[in-house]
């Protein structure tokens, strides 16, 4: 007869502890690498902050310098890359306090960059090629997803096109002020182009129509490639 039928409960418990240990190890590794990612985001934001300060200083010196010395393309790409990483972190790491804090910091950097770009445009007589984009991460917003695709496509088409995206529901006074200044409605997505608010989904053609300067930067970038 089979003596193995006596259940070895001790073994079942030991295996349970080992399995729990492996799961705790998985949790620890996840936490460790998530913290590394947060550190990377902070370091990128610090770098952008320094770059922004540098641009502001450069702008202050403009009175004695030529407008063409302003370098405004690098920061745009960095901000865009940072936006992708924050959005990824929000979806994959979760809306932890760390991610929210980084998102707020990022929004402030965007506003600062936006104000600087506005000043440069006015002083140097450049046509603005940037939009403010308000989306919702709180409610299900299918049109926000579609608007994201449109803006991504435009950024691919016009690399110098700048999109400052803001979470409409972010608890940050500067964003709330921006919403109040431009009277951005809660019907999202919403775009602010040349201080004019456009609510609802806008196609590539709609945006190209209200932002004719885009065509120019498109031509400029083509010319610079052929040069």
């Amino acid at each position: 007869m089979n003596n193995n039928n006596q259940t070895d409960w001790k073994k079942y418990v030991i295996v349970l502890f080992i399995t729990v240990g492996l799961f705790l190890l998985a949790g620890y590794l996840s936490n460790y690498f998530n913290n590394k990612k947060m550190d990377q985001l902070r370091s990128i934001q610090d770098k952008i902050s320094v770059d922004l300060l540098s641009s502001e200083t450069q702008f202050s010196l403009l009175q004695e310098q030529s407008c063409k010395d302003i370098n405004n393309t690098i920061l745009s790409q960095e901000l865009s890359s940072l936006a992708d990483k924050i959005a990824y972190s929000e979806n994959n790491i979760g809306s932890s306090d760390d991610v929210i804090a980084l998102k707020k910091y990022y929004s402030l950097l965007e506003i600062k960059d936006y104000l600087l770009m506005q000043k440069i445009s006015e002083r140097c007589g450049m046509k603005s090629v940037f939009v403010l984009y308000f989306y919702s991460s709180k409610d299900k917003c299918d049109n926000c997803v579609k608007q994201g695709y449109v803006l991504d496509a435009l950024r691919k088409k016009y690399p110098d096109f700048r999109v400052y995206s803001f979470d409409y529901h972010l608890d940050l006074s500067a964003v709330k002020t921006l919403i109040s200044i431009y009277k951005v409605p809660s019907d999202l997505p919403a775009l602010v182009i040349n201080k004019q608010v456009y609510s609802g989904l806008k196609s590539i053609e709609d945006i190209e129509k209200v932002l004719p300067a885009l065509q120019n930067i498109g031509k400029d970038s083509k010319n610079s490639k052929t040069d």
Binding site: K11, F23, Y88, K146
Partner: protein, 415 residues
């Protein structure tokens, strides 16, 4: 907050990892008991043994099967071979005539009226030896298999049946290579279940029984066309000890097309589920030990896991296709080719990711141990890649259909 599907996923992965850890701990406990012998072994006595070969339309393979039995390193006067032609409609009966001259081979012909179990029972009713085995006509035994199996009976009077190590014979395509990795892995699992006293299948190819098993428990039953699983569960129910001999090699021809494999697996999984239902009183009943507490629940869980993961994968794929469709609908089709830039930031570092990695590490470790048991050297074969394809892409189909058939009680055919 975790959503419902994530909670289910965590639970499934936890239980799956638990099962893998259980096998590995069992291996660490018993690793010194696993022996891999080279060449022949000597026994004090050689008990009489009958091997029953049921066959139905096996004219092309039967010769090789019978030849392998005749070549067994076992006293010829102690080994009787019963070949039961189960109403073949091809030339099998004529092929078998040449064996009439062998003193230890008996050929029988019966009407095909019940399937394989009935053919084996036909032989069982006529066998008088101390030990009885069966060998499917698509399988061939290694020369030393029987002697090695007999050492388990000689060493322990309480051993009632011994299962061999089944190896895939000469795989010729990806499907058969995938099955080779699967069968190799099966040797490890079966051996560990043997240590736990929890073997749930005594496969058709060359499992050897003491005759008293059939005398006391009765012959094979139809058992939803999986009589080899039912006899093992019946033995476990009566606390009969089953062992596994990992160096008794039996080579089997596996399905070479998806259709044939689908049919075979549908029968196996359906049979497992139906037999588990018939023997549900064993489940989580400590009187029956690990067979009810571990083996059957683990088998049910593995079916659930594969089906769940497949459904999740199809859902994710559908969701991605939908988003891509929405994107194309919104901004048109962008045909420009962009070289994707690699950034480790976008590699998932969720707990689920690490849990999945840990699970696969445990699985790969187990598969390497399987190779060590079979070949004497731990290594990772490329077949594992094919096996991953088999278990994640193809298996969900027959598993899902088998679960459905079990629920609606739609039986599957033997052939």
């Amino acid at each position: 907050m975790l959503d419902f599907s994530t909670v289910i996923f965590y639970m499934i992965m936890f239980l799956s990892a638990y099962i893998q850890v259980f096998f590995l701990v069992t291996f660490l406990e018993n690793r010194k008991k696993i022996i891999r012998r080279k060449g022949s072994v000597e026994l004090i006595s050689y008990p009489s043994t009958t091997v029953i070969v049921p066959c139905w339309n096996e004219e092309s393979t039967i010769d090789r099967t019978v030849s392998s039995l005749l070549d067994l390193d076992y006293p010829k006067d102690k080994l009787t071979i019963f070949i039961v032609d189960d109403g073949s409609t091809d030339n099998t009966w004529n092929v078998l005539q040449k064996y009439t001259e062998h003193f230890n081979i008996k050929i029988f012909h019966k009407e095909n009226d019940g399937g394989k179990y009935a053919a084996v029972n036909y032989g069982l009713a006529r066998a008088t030896s101390e030990f009885i085995g069966c060998l499917d006509a698509d399988s061939f035994v290694d020369k030393y298999a029987l002697k090695r199996i007999m050492t388990y009976f000689a060493k322990d009077e309480s051993v009632m049946a011994v299962a061999p190590a089944i190896i895939v014979d000469s795989p010729k395509n990806i499907l058969q290579n995938a099955q080779r990795a699967e069968y190799d892995f099966g040797v490890f699992l079966k051996k560990m279940l043997g240590f736990m006293g929890a073997i749930h299948v005594l496969p058709g190819p060359f499992s050897i029984f003491r005759k008293k098993v059939f005398d006391e428990l009765g012959p094979y039953r139809h058992a939803h066309n999986t009589e080899d699983a039912e006899i093992a569960l019946r033995m476990q129910e009566h606390h009969y000890k089953i062992e596994h001999c990992p160096d008794a090699y039996v080579y089997t021809v596996t399905p070479n097309t998806v259709k044939k494999l689908y049919k075979q697996r549908l029968r196996w999984i359906y049979g497992f589920l139906k037999n588990a239902t018939d023997y549900k009183h064993l489940i989580f009943n400590k009187r029956y030990g690990a067979i009810g507490i571990f083996t059957i629940p683990a088998g049910l869980l593995s079916i659930l896991t594969v089906v769940y993961l497949f459904v999740s994968m199809v859902y994710d794929l559908g969701s991605n296709i939908f988003h891509k469709f929405v994107q194309i609908q919104t901004v048109g089709l962008n045909l420009s080719v962009q070289v994707p830039s690699f950034d480790w930031f976008f590699i998932s570092t969720k707990s689920i990711m690490f849990i999945t990695v840990i699970f696969y590490v445990l699985l790969i470790l187990s598969m390497m141990i399987s190779k060590k048991i079979i070949e004497g050297k731990a290594r990772l074969s490329f077949d594992v890649v094919y096996f991953a394809f088999l278990s994640s892409i193809l298996a969900p189909f027959w598993l899902t259909v088998a679960v459905y058939n079990t629920i609606v009680s739609k039986s599957v055919s033997w052939r």
